[in-house]
């Protein structure tokens, strides 16, 4: 009787293997060079920032007659991104454009994709250097860190007091790079000697966690004078908390955010200024670069120059990075100019 159970198991197992073996082998060969089937894989899909970038990608797709799709996890973790990379590899897309939650965790899966001939372009937050062809950096890392500190200093009366950072996830490449740049600037520039960074909190790009982390910051550091939140989900959650607890104006807020989400807070003074870049352009450039790689028009080598449609000419630097442009500061007088 037991052997019958065992044999059922064997039967099931063999059925699968036979079916698989008869199936299309490696899932078909590579796509023809002219086909542009490019997928965006952001850190997480519930994020308005990435939705804006996606619209830029869609715009480029239309301009180049390629297809665009966006897939991604609901939670911003590297582990969650891996199955999506594998699926895209199975589906044999021409290129994957990815913003990494964890640069190392997704590297093996990305390398497997690259081995199959799929191009990998990083955007917003870079995967490990050997797991991507090119990385589109939205703005110079150091410049972002420097400007964040400068803005919070501007906002705090006397430029002195405790400040905290509300980040996204603890492993995100871009966040860690910016935070390091901020720390370097605080240490080296005597103008900021009165500011003290007391805590880096992680909101995981989740509105709820960002809210509770902000509340915790306000509770544990009653002398807090400023919060820097270089993530769109974090800065809008922090703004909401400051208003709700009545601390708006007493604790200053700055960071990176989208104008639509922050418009109200800029106008009522909760957040006097914040920065970003043209997120739609980021998506557009990322798609364009990926397309050029797929079509073989560029190889991703340092010093290569290329023209990205309506954005003009770009050069790949020694590390395989392409810079979109300088950050843009939003204040009350210009926040109505852009709509995203």
């Amino acid at each position: 009787m037991r052997w019958r159970r065992g044999s059922q198991f064997a039967l099931a197992g063999m059925t699968i293997l036979v079916v698989a073996a008869c199936g299309g082998g490696e899932g078909g060969g590579g796509a023809s060079p002219a086909t542009l089937n490019i997928a965006f894989l952001p850190k997480a899909v519930n994020n308005p920032y990435f939705d804006v970038a996606a619209s830029g990608g869609q715009e480029a797709a239309t301009a180049l007659s390629g297809t665009f799709k966006q897939v991604g996890p609901s939670e911003a973790t590297g582990a969650a991104q891996i199955p999506f990379i594998q699926t895209l590899t199975q589906q044999n897309v021409s290129a994957i454009v990815v913003s990494a939650d964890d640069p190392d965790a997704i590297a093996p899966a990305l390398k497997q994709a690259m081995q199959k001939g799929i191009k990998v372009v990083g955007y917003d937050s870079s995967p490990a250097k050997d797991a991507r062809n090119v990385f589109i950096n939205q703005a110079d890392t150091k410049a972002i860190g420097v400007s964040q500190v400068a803005m919070v200093c501007d906002e705090i009366p006397g430029c002195a007091g405790d400040i905290a950072v509300l980040s996204a996830t603890s492993t995100a490449t871009n966040q860690n790079a910016w935070i390091q740049a901020m720390k370097d600037e605080l240490a080296s520039n005597s103008k900021y000697s009165g500011l003290k960074l007391v805590k880096v909190a992680y909101g995981n790009d989740d509105p709820q966690v960002s809210t509770t982390e902000t509340q915790a910051l306000l509770t544990s550091y009653p002398n807090l004078k400023g919060i820097i939140s270089p993530t769109t989900v974090g800065i809008s959650a922090a703004a909401q908390v400051l208003e709700q607890t009545g601390k708006a104006g007493k604790v200053q807020l700055t960071g990176l955010g989208t104008p639509n989400l922050m418009r109200k807070y800029v106008k009522d003074g909760t957040c006097k200024e914040f920065a970003l870049w043209n997120v739609k352009d980021l998506g557009y450039l990322a798609y364009y670069t990926a397309a050029l790689l797929v079509q073989g028009k560029i190889k991703g080598n340092p010093s290569e120059k290329f023209t990205a449609g309506r954005l003009g000419e770009y050069t790949i630097d020694a590390n395989g990075v392409v810079l979109l442009g300088p950050p843009f500061v939003f204040k009350a007088d210009n926040i109505d100019q852009l709509n995203f």
Binding site: N46, S74, P207, A237, Q240, N260, R263
Partner: protein, 346 residues
């Protein structure tokens, strides 16, 4: 004259000695007092280390954080008393939170309308759980594990990757979380009211006491003529309603809602319920105990932050507290058992 049947030897021996009413009360009060003592001890210790812990605004903050969990804990207690459990509360809260937020964003029904729909939705979700457990006889752990998945999945389907942000929500709705009644924040008042009403009903109404009976000894309860299926169904409906209320208030409290809202809430709630002295096998425990359990856990979390201790200890401490709480319960019961055996009562 109604017959009450009790299972645990301790309770029956005590019951014969003191009478049922006083036994249940005794055990319950013992636990509630115990938690209060621990709470006071924690407050005292932390205040010595960091005086700013002991302030009205800080305590208010703690209670605000607890209010939503406490509401859900009330519903969960009702279910656990009947020897069941509801693992889907997190998903129910999340689904209602997003649905309510979405309705408010479109502003088709106005604020009261959206709130009413949210509560009804919670009721409905709870009713489905109740159907699975009471009618289809699926064990509660399994049924609610399944609905945890299903409701969360529905939440994602409805959300479609979008979120509802604070700027989308009407001012009056957001104002609920910041307004107060006689100086006490509305959320705290709401949670307290719900807890008190539930506590009263559970203790003083026939249905309430029958819930205890079902949890103590389901077979006996049936024999005696208690409509167990109907009551268990009702318990799940109540749990759903509580989750619905918490979901409706969620958007107001947190400002933005996405499909991940309230993920993992079920574990926090069950922890609060267990720490609060509610027996996971049913039959004993009180709503007040569960609420106190929630407050204790939230106070400890707050204390860790004030003391600038790494919040990474928080989860480990929570786990240790759960083990401690359940262990203490068992030890107390064992103690009473030994005493009563020694005095010759069986």
């Amino acid at each position: 004259m109604s017959v009450r049947v009790i299972d645990a030897p301790t309770d029956s021996a005590l019951a014969r000695r003191f009478g049922l009413e006083r036994t249940l009360t005794l055990v319950a009060r013992l636990r509630e007092v115990g938690i209060l003592l621990v709470l006071l001890a924690v407050v005292a210790i932390v205040t010595i280390q960091a005086p700013l812990f002991f302030s009205v605004s800080n305590f208010e903050q703690i209670l605000l954080n607890v209010s939503l969990i406490a509401i859900v804990a009330v519903g969960q207690t009702t279910v656990v008393l009947t020897r069941n459990v509801d693992l889907s509360v997190g998903s129910m809260v999340g689904l209602v939170a997003f649905a309510t937020g979405d309705l408010l964003k479109e502003n088709t029904l106005g604020v009261p309308g959206a709130i009413a729909v949210g509560c009804l939705l919670g009721l409905g979700l709870g009713a489905f759980n109740g159907l699975l457990v009471a009618v289809a006889k699926v064990p509660a752990i399994v049924a609610t594990l399944g609905t945890l998945y299903v409701y969360r999945g529905l939440d994602f389907l409805v959300a479609g990757g979008k979120q509802v942000s604070a700027i989308d929500l009407p001012r009056d709705y957001l104002g609920i979380a910041t307004s107060s009644v006689l100086g006490i924040p509305t959320l705290i008042v709401a949670a307290a009211l719900i807890a008190l009403v539930a506590a009263y009903l559970l203790r003083n109404s026939g249905a309430g006491r029958e819930l205890y009976a079902i949890g103590s000894n389901p077979a006996a309860a049936e024999v005696v003529g208690i409509p167990t299926h109907r009551l268990i169904f009702g318990a799940f409906v109540v749990c759903g309603l509580c989750a619905g209320i918490a979901g409706v208030l969620w958007g107001s409290r947190f400002g933005s809602v996405n499909a991940l809202a309230a993920s993992g809430l079920e574990l926090q709630v069950i922890a609060a319920v267990v720490v609060g002295g509610v027996n996971i096998f049913g039959g004993s425990g009180t709503v007040i105990g569960a609420v106190l359990g929630a407050i204790l856990l939230a106070t400890i979390e707050n204390a860790l932050r004030i003391l600038h201790l790494s919040e990474f200890w928080l989860l480990a401490i929570d786990g240790a507290i759960i083990l401690l709480a359940v262990g203490t319960d068992a030890a107390i019961r064992g103690y009473f058992q030994r005493i009563l055996t020694r005095t010759g009562r069986r």
